[in-house]
Structure formats: structure tokens, C-alpha cells
């Protein structure tokens, strides 16, 4: 069980550690996790997922072949489908490791094109900065991805539809969501592997926060913090049933992530169709116990994860954690 931090400040600062109140020793978090555990027990067939770990020592031209090989291995059938690639763009910091590297995004774009998709778009809605295209330019996307501007949708300012959340974990019953993402046949989360000073780790599921339109909810998307960060992540995960994750773990961020941490080379890409399984695998590579990440528990990590490519032990690379998160360290 995740240690509960009563962080009223976090809601007001846009970053909230959990949805629990901590009062009476049995908060909403405990209730939800308990309910999730009971639901998991009642679920008859064991969930299985395949996660690929591919070595990728640097941001080089080899990446194009590596990504194509990973997608082939994952047997993605995207011919004639609409694919949306959702990287993680956060801040203007040249030379930093805050944002998903543009070469990973371009390699994914080319690989999906090679698989015969009908339409592939790149889409993102940053949480703090409103000038998304400027952010993308500073992150090198214009330079690396030919025709980037025509391929890109700013999810913060996209057309929206109101979506009823099915059995939400958070306080939210409905959410306005961008039509570009809702209309996709496959939503591909392309985050960077980072520690996160409220959630523990930010990976492919936390990256889904960028789907929520700032044009409706603001910058930051504080409605999600009040509804519960972990619970909102789990709700977004359930709202988009056709997903794929390709995590940029070539150089990630450790320490005070997701913005002020330091670079940490892990030298791999991690990919799969089940975002919870991919994130749990990333956590194990970072030497973080996935059982301590509340949103993973709420979403439910598959009972069996088939590891393709490299073994976790061969690429494990402990990420430095802030003192507040030492209990998250995998033993």
C-alpha cells in the first residue's frame, strides 16, 4: 500500500500526491485500493501482457530500426487505422531531459507509417505552458520531424466532446476530452521515464494527463488534482481502450522529477499494448516497487507479464529517489 501523504498544499500547487484524506485511519485511497483488490480477486481470467525491452544506447539513427523491430514484435495491426502519438512535452529547457526526445517520436512516426496506418498524428497538451508549438520547437521537434506543424494537434485547444466516465475511481463523472484522441484507433503514449515528486514515477499512464484539454480546464489541469491524481490517471487509462506505450528510457530523469531532476541513462525502450504492464516493467527497471504506485494498483497490473527482448535484471538501473519516496524502492 502506498504511504499516504496528506498534501493539501499539493492541490493548491497543482501537484497532489494522493486522493486520500488520511483521517480516521481509513481514507478514500484505502477504500479504493481495497475495492480494486477485491475486484481483481473476483476477476476470473488472469490478464496477461507482453512487454518488450529493447536496448537503445543513444539517440542515434539506429533508433529507427529498433522501434520498427519493437512494433513488429508486438504484432500491432494498424493498417488503415488512425494512430495518435502522444509524447510528453513539459518545459523549455534546452539540453535537459524533461521532454520526450524528438528522435523517439520521429522513429515511432516512421515505424507506424511503415506498418501502413491510414493517418498518424502527433498530439500533446502540456500541463503548465500554454504555448505548445513554441515548446515543441524548443524541444527540437520542428527540426527533427519534417512537416511537424502539419502533423501536430495541440490537445489543449482541440475540439472537445464531453465523455461519461465509466465506473470512475476519481470524483469525476464526466470529462471534456479532445476529439483527436477520442477518434483515434490507437493512442500511443510516448513518455519519458522519470521519477515524479508526487506520483512516484511518471510513465505511459501519467502521460495521459496531457489528453485533458487545458483550453477547458486550465494550466495546470488542476481539476485532476482535486479529483485525485492517481484516480484520474486510472480513469483516463480506462477511457481509452486501444492504447500502446513506447517509453523513452534511453536517458530518463531521476531525483526531483518530473522537471528539476537529473539525467539518468537507462539505455532502453520499453513497449507494449498494456500501459499498466509497461509502467510496472519500467518501475522494475528503475528499482521502484510497482505495488507502491497507487495509479498502477487502481488500474490493475496484469497478473502475468511476458517479457520480450531484454530481461529486466540485465537492464535494471536504480533511479535516485527523493527522501520522501525511499519506501518506494524495490527490495
Amino acid at each position: 500500500m502506498c504511504s499516504v501523504r496528506s498534501d493539501s498544499q499539493a492541490k493548491a500547487t497543482g501537484r497532489r500526491g494522493d486522493g486520500a484524506t488520511g483521517r480516521l485511519g481509513f481514507g478514500r485511497r484505502e477504500f479504493l485500493l481495497g475495492a480494486a483488490a477485491l475486484t481483481a480477486c473476483a476477476r476470473p481470467p488472469a490478464r496477461e501482457a507482453t512487454v518488450t525491452i529493447a536496448r537503445a544506447p543513444g539517440y542515434t539513427q539506429d533508433l529507427y530500426d529498433t522501434v520498427r523491430r519493437v512494433l513488429t514484435e508486438q504484432r500491432l495491426a494498424v493498417r488503415g487505422r488512425r494512430v495518435v502519438l502522444k509524447p510528453n512535452l513539459v518545459e523549455f529547457e534546452p539540453g535537459s531531459v524533461i521532454n520526450t526526445h524528438p528522435l523517439v517520436v520521429h522513429a515511432a512516426l516512421e515505424a507506424f507509417r511503415a506498418l501502413g496506418e491510414a493517418d498518424v498524428r502527433i498530439a500533446e497538451g502540456p500541463g503548465h505552458r500554454r504555448n505548445t508549438l513554441d515548446l515543441a520547437e524548443a524541444a527540437g521537434y520542428f527540426q527533427t520531424i519534417p512537416g511537424f506543424e502539419d502533423l501536430f494537434t495541440d490537445l489543449n485547444l482541440d475540439e472537445v466532446s464531453r465523455v461519461q466516465l465509466s465506473r470512475p475511481s476519481s470524483h469525476l463523472n464526466t470529462l471534456y476530452l479532445p476529439r483527436t484522441a477520442l477518434a483515434s484507433d490507437l493512442l500511443v503514449s510516448l513518455p519519458k521515464m522519470k521519477t515524479h515528486h508526487w506520483a512516484g514515477a511518471t510513465l505511459s499512464m501519467k502521460n495521459l494527463f496531457g489528453l485533458v484539454p487545458g483550453g477547458v480546464y486550465g494550466w495546470p489541469k488542476n481539476v485532476l488534482h482535486w479529483a485525485g491524481i492517481h484516480e484520474s490517471i486510472a480513469d483516463l487509462y480506462r477511457t481509452f481502450p486501444r492504447q500502446f506505450a513506447l517509453v523513452d528510457c534511453i536517458v530518463g530523469m531521476e531525483g526531483n522529477g518530473p522537471i528539476q531532476g537529473t539525467a539518468k541513462a537507462a539505455g532502453v525502450l520499453v513497449a507494449g499494448r498494456d500501459l499498466a504492464a509497461v509502467d510496472a516493467t519500467c518501475c522494475r527497471i528503475m528499482s521502484i516497487d510497482p505495488a507502491k504506485i497507487s495509479y498502477l494498483q487502481l488500474a490493475g497490473v496484469p497478473e502475468r507479464i511476458v517479457q520480450a527482448g531484454e530481461r529486466i535484471d540485465s537492464v535494471r538501473n536504480p533511479f535516485r529517489l527523493l527522501p520522501e519516496f525511499q519506501s518506494f524502492r524495490a527490495v
Binding site: 496528506s6 493539501s8 492541490k11 493548491a12 500547487t13 497543482g14 501537484r15 484524506t21 488520511g22 483521517r23 523549455f92 503548465h128 505552458r129 500554454r130 504555448n131 508549438l133 513554441d134 520547437e137 524548443a138 506543424e149 495541440d154 485547444l157 475540439e159 472537445v160 466532446s161 464531453r162 471534456y176 515528486h197 483550453g215 477547458v216 480546464y217 486550465g218 494550466w219 495546470p220 488542476n222 481539476v223 488534482h225 482535486w226 526531483n256 522537471i259 528539476q260 527523493l322 520522501e324
Partner: protein
């Protein structure tokens, strides 16, 4: 398409004044058939529409388009007095401040008064009575609250919506004095001062996280300085704004910094790098910054 057509600053650090005519004609060309403005293309949204109207205010050559824009906004005021970000959203939000910055005579006196009433009814959730009671019961120490404005009702206050609400209320206070207006303006200013980053500027509103200092942003520093016009002892913040202007890589940031510095009597002397105007918001803000340089800042009371 707007992107890449104009630059909001030039390599010599001059204000965007030389871009005046293309910026206005660009705005006029981008107006939707329904009278509103999109961010880039497609559906009309409240923010670009209100900003475009502020930029076109008083321009004879834009009188017809201005009237159509006002009509679009007037028809979309919600029953609670506020405006939604776009017609598909059923919730009044922060964009109400932008509409309330338009002259009451243009948007309609009664409509404007209801917008101001809606704004006065909004506050960050962290300062609401029941939230504070709950915190107190949990043993969380409570400081004297300073209430700002949220982006979306029922959430915490943040720098940009607070700054815009202050500007709208200050403009409204010019026409109708009231203790409540004044108190909320003062509280909003106190909120901004309390959320200043250690470097003197402002980011979205989180100056510290887990004990670590956060960096400020150009656009939020500029808008906060504009809202804090008349507040003394902001030298450190003004220096930060000048430094940010030299490195700023967004047209939006350059425009807000220009207006924020001008509100404190500082001409933007720094060298602003070239920035691409990406959308109608950038374009309108560049035109507004240019007018501010010429002595007509429509955000000022």
C-alpha cells in the same frame, strides 16, 4: 494560416510596432463566419475572440468585424453571467475576465455587470470556508488566506486567471466604486505577491514544490506585473522580466513582458529574440503590446 507569418519581436529588441498593419489585417482575415475567432482554425473560442476584440478596439477599419465579434460574445453569455471557453463546453470559466475587459458600452452594461458579479463569486477552492474547516480538522495549519481566481470553478487559484481577474475588476472599479471590488483586487494582488518565485518572477502559481524552488516563466511574469501595476518594490521582479525578455522564445511571452514592464514605467530595453506568432492569441497580444507601447494599454484602468 497564421503560424510563421509574423514575428512578435525583432532581433534588435524593438517592440512589435513595425508589425502593426499586418497584425491587424491578419486578425481581420482570421475571423470566422460566425463572428468569433478560433485559436488557429475551426471553432470560435472565447479567449481569441475577446483578445482580438481588445486588439481591434477603436480601429475604424475594423468596425464591422468588431461589431460581429461583440455579437458573437453577447449571444454566448451563460445564464450565470459568465462565459464558457467555447460553445461546446457547459461551464463558465476564467475567460469571463477577458470579456469583462471589453468596454461595458460595447458588450452591454447589464451584461458586463453580470460578468463582474460572476467574477466576484469565484475564488480558489483552497480559500473556501468549508475547505479550510476540513483542513483545520485534519490539523493542517492555516495561514491567512489570500484569494485569487481559478481557471475552472471548484479548483485552486493560479497566476494567470488571478491576474486577468484583477485587470478586469480594476477596470470595472473605474466606473463603479465598491468595497467588494477593491477588497478582491487587493486580495488578488496579495495572492500574486505570495506566489512569486524566488527568482522574482512568476510561473503558473507553484513557486515551491516539496521544498524545492521552481523557476518562473516569461508569460506569467509579464501578466502578473501588468496586474500589479502601482504596487511598489518590485525591482527584483522587473529585473527578472527584463532578463526573461532577452531569452524569451514565445511571442506570447514577449508581448506580456512588454506590457508588464510598461505598466511599471520600463521600456523593454532587452534584446528579444525572434518569435513566431503561432495563433490568434499570439497575434492579438502582439497588437495589444504594440498599442501599449504607443500609450494605449487596454488592460489598464
Amino acid at each position: 494560416m497564421v503560424a510563421g507569418r509574423h514575428r512578435a519581436g525583432d532581433a534588435t529588441g524593438a517592440s512589435p510596432s513595425s508589425q502593426s498593419i499586418p497584425l491587424v489585417s491578419g486578425l481581420l482575415a482570421a475571423q470566422n463566419a460566425d463572428g468569433g475567432w478560433p485559436y488557429r482554425r475551426g471553432t470560435s473560442w472565447t479567449e481569441p475572440t475577446a483578445l482580438a476584440l481588445l486588439a481591434l478596439e477603436g480601429r475604424q477599419e475594423a468596425a464591422v468585424q468588431y461589431a460581429r465579434g461583440v455579437e458573437w460574445l453577447a449571444a454566448r453569455q451563460r445564464p450565470d453571467g459568465g462565459w464558457a471557453p467555447q460553445p461546446g463546453v457547459e461551464q463558465s470559466t476564467w475567460v469571463t475576465s477577458l470579456v469583462a475587459l471589453l468596454p461595458p458600452a460595447r458588450i452591454g452594461q447589464a451584461r458586463h455587470a453580470r460578468a463582474i458579479a460572476w467574477l466576484l463569486g469565484q475564488t480558489g477552492k483552497e480559500t473556501t470556508f468549508w475547505y479550510r474547516v476540513r483542513q483545520r480538522m485534519q490539523g493542517v495549519p492555516i495561514n491567512n488566506p489570500v484569494s485569487g481566481w481559478p481557471w475552472f470553478p471548484g479548483t485552486a487559484a493560479w497566476v494567470t486567471p488571478t491576474s486577468l481577474a484583477i485587470l478586469a475588476l480594476r477596470k470595472a472599479a473605474r466606473e463603479s466604486q465598491g468595497d467588494e471590488l477593491q477588497a478582491r483586487i487587493e486580495s488578488g494582488c496579495a495572492y500574486l505577491l505570495a506566489h512569486r518565485c524566488s527568482d522574482g518572477g512568476w510561473n503558473h502559481g507553484s513557486s515551491r514544490a516539496l521544498g524545492y524552488e521552481s523557476n518562473s516563466y516569461p508569460e506569467t511574469t509579464g501578466i502578473a506585473l501588468l496586474a500589479l501595476e502601482g504596487v511598489p518594490k518590485l525591482d527584483g521582479s522587473l529585473s527578472t522580466a527584463e532578463r526573461q525578455l532577452r531569452d524569451c522564445r514565445s511571442a506570447e511571452g514577449v508581448s506580456w513582458l512588454h506590457m508588464g514592464l510598461l505598466a511599471h514605467g520600463r521600456k523593454a530595453a532587452g534584446v528579444a529574440p525572434p518569435c513566431v506568432v503561432r495563433n490568434i492569441r499570439d497575434e492579438a497580444l502582439a497588437a495589444l503590446a504594440e498599442r501599449a507601447e504607443q500609450g494605449r494599454n487596454v488592460f489598464r484602468a
